[in-house]
């Protein structure tokens, strides 16, 4: 009797711990799920292993893309103790290069979740003080630190920050209308319905106004060698933006143009980025901005830039072709979108000068020229975009 109860308590502990692991791996499982999971286990019993697994899955997984994480976690947690060794191996720092296969990445993420966070060797008595100080100021420091100078840990922390960001572009009025008490057009349909409801009596008029919605967004992200570090970080940001709102298109360019929107739409950021690096063939290579913009203008601009799209061009403007043909294509791009915003990490330098030919060719045609090298600039981006611009003026003079 007591033995059975003890076993049950042990099982409950394990389930609790398993749920924590899943939570740490990014699955949205609240405390209530533990109770549900225990109830489910009680209902199906412990006789059949696969029933046990399906019961847990039914309760704990609510999205298709979470299923592989769950399955791997389940295998590791409930069956194969040797897998733990693999996990530890997966945690070891990888040689920097292409992001590996998504299947390989999942264990790494799980391993992070299952193992307790690595403790920095405590400095005896000062431990608590230090902790408090670190958590506050480290975030502060991260806000301002350049992506290119961050350590692996800092990058990981910033990635988590970037994933939560959004890009609220100011909404434009569209031609579709919506019921509004202060609208300008009379809503005859609603007025008449109200009138019929009142037995044909005269009722106040109902109105409609034009709806507002954010414009389509098209991002052109430079993934050449000089932009490598930034591009990797920004892809986390772009993944968040792509999944946050409708009508976002993301293309990368280096020596060629690649549309990665479909890959970025995958909800799981690791899988999405793995697919992106599979699709982008010119990663960390040279840059031919003019050629790529020409390809964009010819093949994509008419498909993506309808309905007053805003274009974000993320590039350092360092061009292998020395800006040849770039001015022409940049002008065409600027003319076919509602607003062209250039985000340039080089702007972080106080003494930035528009010397390189590529930058000089691009500058006259952009509406906004903004820095993008740390978390703070990305946060400010939303603010900068929300404010009225002077259309294509003053930027050359400022540079």
């Amino acid at each position: 009797m007591t033995a059975a109860r003890a076993a049950q308590a042990h099982l409950a502990d394990n389930v609790l711990y398993f749920v924590r692991v899943l939570r740490a791996a990014g699955l949205p499982v609240g405390p209530a799920k533990v109770i549900d999971a225990l109830a489910a286990i009680e209902a199906v019993g412990l006789d059949n292993r696969s029933d046990f697994r399906e019961a847990l899955a039914a309760v704990l997984v609510s999205r298709r893309e979470h299923l592989p994480i769950f399955e791997q976690a389940f295998d590791m947690f409930w069956r194969n103790p040797r897998l733990l060794e693999k996990m530890i191996a997966a945690l070891l720092p990888r040689i920097q290069g292409r992001v590996s296969d998504p299947a390989d990445d999942l264990p790494a993420r799980l391993a992070q979740a299952m193992l307790p966070p690595p403790r920095t060797v405590p400095d005896d008595a000062q431990e608590t003080d230090l902790d408090a100080a670190l958590s506050f100021s480290s975030r502060e420091v991260l806000q301002h630190k350049d992506f290119a100078t961050m350590t692996v840990d800092e990058l990981a922390e910033v990635k988590a920050l970037l994933r939560k960001m959004s890009l609220p572009l100011p909404a434009q009025r569209v031609r579709r209308t919506i019921a509004a008490s202060r609208g300008r057009a009379i809503d005859l349909r609603a007025t008449l319905r109200a009138s019929v409801g009142a037995g044909g009596a005269l009722t106040p008029l109902h109105f409609r106004a034009r709806r507002r919605r954010p414009p389509p967004l098209c991002v052109l992200c430079d993934v050449s060698g000089s932009m490598d570090r930034y591009a990797r970080m920004l892809l986390h940001f772009l993944h968040a933006v792509t999944n946050d709102r409708h009508r976002v298109q993301v293309l990368t360019f280096g020596t060629r143009l690649t549309n990665i929107t479909r890959h970025l739409r995958h909800r799981d950021v690791d899988v999405a980025l793995a697919r992106v690096s599979g699709a982008v063939e010119d990663w960390a290579g040279g840059t031919r901005i003019g050629t790529c913009l020409m390809e964009f203008n010819r093949k994509w601009s008419r498909r993506l830039l309808g309905q007053n799209a805003v274009v974000l061009l993320i590039s350092d403007g360092l061009d292998a072709d020395a800006g040849e043909g770039l001015a022409f294509e940049a002008e065409r791009l600027a003319k076919s979108c509602a607003r062209l915003v250039w985000l340039n990490p080089l702007l972080r330098y106080a003494g930035f000068e528009a010397r390189p030919a590529g930058i000089r060719a691009l500058l006259p045609h952009v509406d906004d020229f903004l820095p993008v090298h740390n978390v703070e600039t990305l946060t400010d981006l939303a603010h900068a975009l929300a404010h009225p611009r002077q259309r294509r003026a003053g930027i050359t003079a400022a540079a």
Binding site: V174, R175, R176, T177, L188, R189, L192, S195, V196, G197, G199, G200, P216, H246, R247, N297, R298, R302, R303, L304, G306, Q307, R332
Partner: protein
């Protein structure tokens, strides 16, 4: 707004709210496709791809076999046909030719941003409804439930293209052309899903209206934005490409018989060469035909560089493209086009 226009020609019986009735009449006729007025005895759809090809050819549409197959399948499987392609390659024309070939009325819905149910499906005739309410009031003893029941009947319904296509007044299922869907916004696309998969629309006050026989649906898109996969999934997809020289020549011969055979050959050879150049917008078939007609209007019987330079506006619609065809390039293209004839 369904206010009456001055065009109302016929007046109905001498009943009281005369102007309102006239308004209805003029409106209904204005929104109908012109072909509706002919009497239709729908022809049998073609029984195989060759018959489809012949049917299209009969009505001066020179189609490639792949397109004919797509059309045949659309008719046979009763699925919408989704046509995508550059401007001026004959997407809209297919719907017109199908309507003529199958002897069915053509109902055309031109899409634009903000297109809503009031423009695409139905609208209540508000002025008429208001008069009805006033009349009921004047008669006295209005009962609310009854009033709302009387007001929202088909008598007060203005039928827009989609509803016309699903419940045609004369019973013949028409050809429904949903033109340039990429110009409409996503909410309208989402609305179309119900129409395209079940051939039905729901009017809250009346209920669901379902087509007895589904119309032949042709959707076109210029690809100014991507249409959602959910729409495409319900349709047969066909990319309408530029024609090859032989087919384009056949088209010019059909559509612009005034051009001599040798001029037509030169025109086609020139346009085909033009499409191989790196242009922002290559000329479509519509442009080729325009150009051929322009040359006929100028009484030219053969191409020369000067004429080409003077009439380039019929072919190319972007200044950058026009500037790219310098006199040298034009002369070279003319030479090559004429050498091909010899």
């Amino acid at each position: 707004m369904a206010t009456g226009g001055p065009r109302a020609a016929r007046s109905l019986s001498g009943r009281k709210p005369r102007c309102v009735h006239r308004a209805v009449e003029s409106r209904t006729h204005a929104s109908r496709a012109p072909t509706v007025k002919q009497q239709h005895t729908p022809a049998q759809p073609p029984s195989n791809v060759d018959a489809t090809l012949a049917l299209l050819e009969q009505h001066d549409y020179v189609a490639e076999r792949r397109l004919a197959t797509a059309v045949f399948l659309a008719l046979k499987l009763q699925r919408p046909l989704f046509l995508e392609g550059e401007a001026g390659v004959g997407k809209t024309e297919i719907a017109k030719v199908l309507a003529a070939g199958l002897a069915r009325p053509l109902v055309r819905l031109q899409c634009y941003e903000g297109l809503d149910t009031a423009g695409a499906v139905y609208e209540w005739n508000y002025p008429r409804q208001m008069i009805e309410i006033r009349l009921a009031e004047a008669a006295g003893g209005v009962e609310r439930g009854e009033l709302s029941h009387d007001i929202f009947t088909t008598r007060f319904l203005l039928r827009r293209p989609l509803l016309q296509a699903l419940s045609p007044e004369d019973g013949a299922p028409p050809v429904l052309l949903i033109d340039e869907l990429d110009r409409a916004d996503e909410p309208f696309e989402a609305y179309l899903l119900e129409v395209l998969s079940d051939y039905q629309v729901t009017i809250p006050e009346l209920g669901t209206i379902r087509a007895h026989t589904p119309p032949v649906v042709v959707i076109t898109s210029n690809r100014t934005r991507e249409i959602h996969d959910a729409i495409k999934r319900r349709c047969l997809y066909h990319w309408v490409d530029y024609p090859d020289a032989a087919r384009e020549l056949a088209i010019v011969a059909r559509k612009c018989p005034a051009a001599s055979a040798s001029l037509a050959r030169e025109v086609v050879a020139f346009t085909q060469r033009l499409r191989t150049l790196d242009l922002f917008k290559s000329p479509g078939i519509a442009e080729t035909l325009d150009w051929a007609e322009a040359l006929v209007a100028l009484d030219r019987i053969t191409l020369d560089p000067q004429t080409v330079a003077d009439t380039l506006g019929a072919l190319l619609k972007y200044q950058d493209d026009v500037a790219a065809i310098t006199p040298d390039v034009a002369a070279r293209l003319v030479r090559e086009a004429q050498a091909e004839q010899a």
